[in-house]
């Protein structure tokens, strides 16, 4: 059973998972990469190799502008998620004794609550006749509904932050729980106040969790296309929508594949960089 004595026979056990991996991961991603060098002739995809698709991305500033805009929005969303998730994890890890388990569950339940239901909820809250607008109208604060709530970047940011908070909370909380409590006592004995302990001890020690959470939030926000479609309007269009539209009405699969690969390259690069500082699994799939 030991790792050192694995005879070739034990490699046979890897056959099912390898077949799965090839059929559903490696081949599809590889083939999409190949397609990104093809071109469209009429309504057909022609297997003639070309760099035109990538060329179009780099020459037409519209595409890179949307990518840049999406990355900035994703950055803002990831920061907001940290702003909400880190203090929550900190509070739970250091300030709560009674009911800790229940509060922990309360913090991670949203992760498994239906994605669509959460979108529906935010459309209901932010809409023109939504919860915020009708409440403000009823209270007499406004006469016309506030238009800036829905169908723009703001709505996308709020909803995606909402989705991302548990993804930040889990790795940060896991990292905080691992900090030996006597280190905190030592800091306190040496005269460090709470803020100083947080900045000089807790924050550096929880940095891997923080980075992991930040990156997960960033990638989720960058790759999403359903939330911008549902709540973003024309202003909130993101890179994911651009990819999606190539497979929908634009019907330019090779160009869509090229855009997908640009997104893949960004995601993999970021994940690769993080795996050196944080942990890629982020604790979601560990028990």
């Amino acid at each position: 059973m030991g790792e050192r004595y694995s005879p070739p026979r034990s490699l046979l056990r890897g056959i099912p998972i390898t077949i799965w991996m090839l059929c559903l991961v490696a081949v599809p991603l590889g083939y999409t990469f190949l397609i990104s060098f093809f071109q469209v002739e009429g309504m057909q995809i022609a297997a003639k190799l070309t760099l035109k698709n990538y060329g179009l991305f780099f020459t037409d500033p519209m595409y890179s502008r949307i990518l840049l805009k999406s990355m900035l929005l994703a950055l803002a969303i990831a920061s907001l998620s940290i702003l909400a998730g880190y203090p929550l994890a900190y509070m739970l890890s250091f300030r709560v004794r009674r009911g800790k388990q229940a509060l922990f569950m309360l913090s991670i339940i949203p992760l498994w609550v239906s994605y669509l239901v959460r979108i529906i909820a935010w459309r209901t809250i932010l809409g023109n006749k939504g919860v915020i607008n009708s409440a403000l109208t009823a209270l007499g604060f406004i006469k016309e509904p506030l238009e800036f709530l829905l169908y723009n970047r703001f709505a996308v940011a709020v909803t995606l932050t909402y989705i991302c908070i548990p993804f930040v909370f889990i790795p940060v909380y896991t990292a905080l729980e691992k900090i030996p409590r006597n280190i905190m006592e030592a800091a306190s004995d040496l005269g460090a106040g709470e803020l100083r302990t947080l900045l000089n001890v807790v924050l550096p020690l929880s940095l891997p969790g923080l980075i992991t959470g930040f990156i997960f939030a960033f990638i989720i926000a960058l790759g999403d296309y359903i939330i911008p479609q549902q709540l973003g309007g024309t202003q909130g269009i993101m890179f994911g929508n651009l990819i999606w539209s190539q497979f929908g009405f634009a019907f330019n699969w090779p160009f869509g594949a090229a855009l997908s690969f640009i997104l893949l390259a960004i995601s993999v690069t970021i994940l690769g960089l993080t795996s050196r500082f944080g942990s890629t699994e982020g604790g979601f799939l560990n028990e």
Binding site: W20, A84, M91, W112, I165, F247, L263
Partner: protein, 275 residues
Amino acid sequence: MSRPAASLRRWERGIGLKAYGLLVYFFLYFPLLIVLVFSFSPTKTIVGISGFTLKWYLELFKDQNLLTAFFHTLIIGVGAVGIAIVLGLAGAFFVSRVSFPGKSVFRTLVLLPYILPGILMGISLLVVIKALNIPLSPFTVLLGHVSFTVPVVMFQIMSRIARMGPNYQTAAMDLGANPVQTFWYVTLPMIRTALIGAALLAFTVSFDEIVISYFLTGTWMTLPVFIYGMMRYGLSPKVYAISTIILFLSLALIMLMSRYTGRSAEVYRVRRPRE
């Protein structure tokens, strides 16, 4: 600085943090509450909400297409989880216990369907499926769901294997059990709760998946894809009713799941061979 002042300030600071935490919880749960309230409301506005009705729920049961979509989701979920358990279990033992070159790359590749943006998996599967001339069908939806449920199951089981260590198996083998007996009498009972937890988790993920399914669905729709179609015509009260049902179903699944995962579920029992 005198002690009482310092401790008072610490106390105050703790309050600030707790208030902030409360605010975050409010942010997390208020939207869900809204969906719940709207599903029972006879009117569509929140202000001046009056009365309580179950008529939207009753309408759900009259909507044959919706019931069909719900049934489809269950089939896909059970099918995908069944396949994922077999592949994930084999894969978890393979990656945990066998050393081979390129193992860390292999691990990452297995994890990709779970960590990559769903749109990338959806599109690349669609591209291959079209290239092979496979029509969009229940089968293609199932393929999509198998792609992301396998890493969910596999990594859950891997973390249990890592904590269990190899000693129990080694002991069983030393006592003369063959690999099949070791698996059946020792390993399987020891990872049983992790398996159940992983299955529930994978089912929960499959149950509301839309991002990948969206690309792989033809006319045979799962519930989330069907609801997404309904949302094109605005949010009807029926959408809130089905959302509430989904909400409670996933809550029930999470509660069930929490019994099987985590350290508290780690009660190791082995099967006693019959004499």
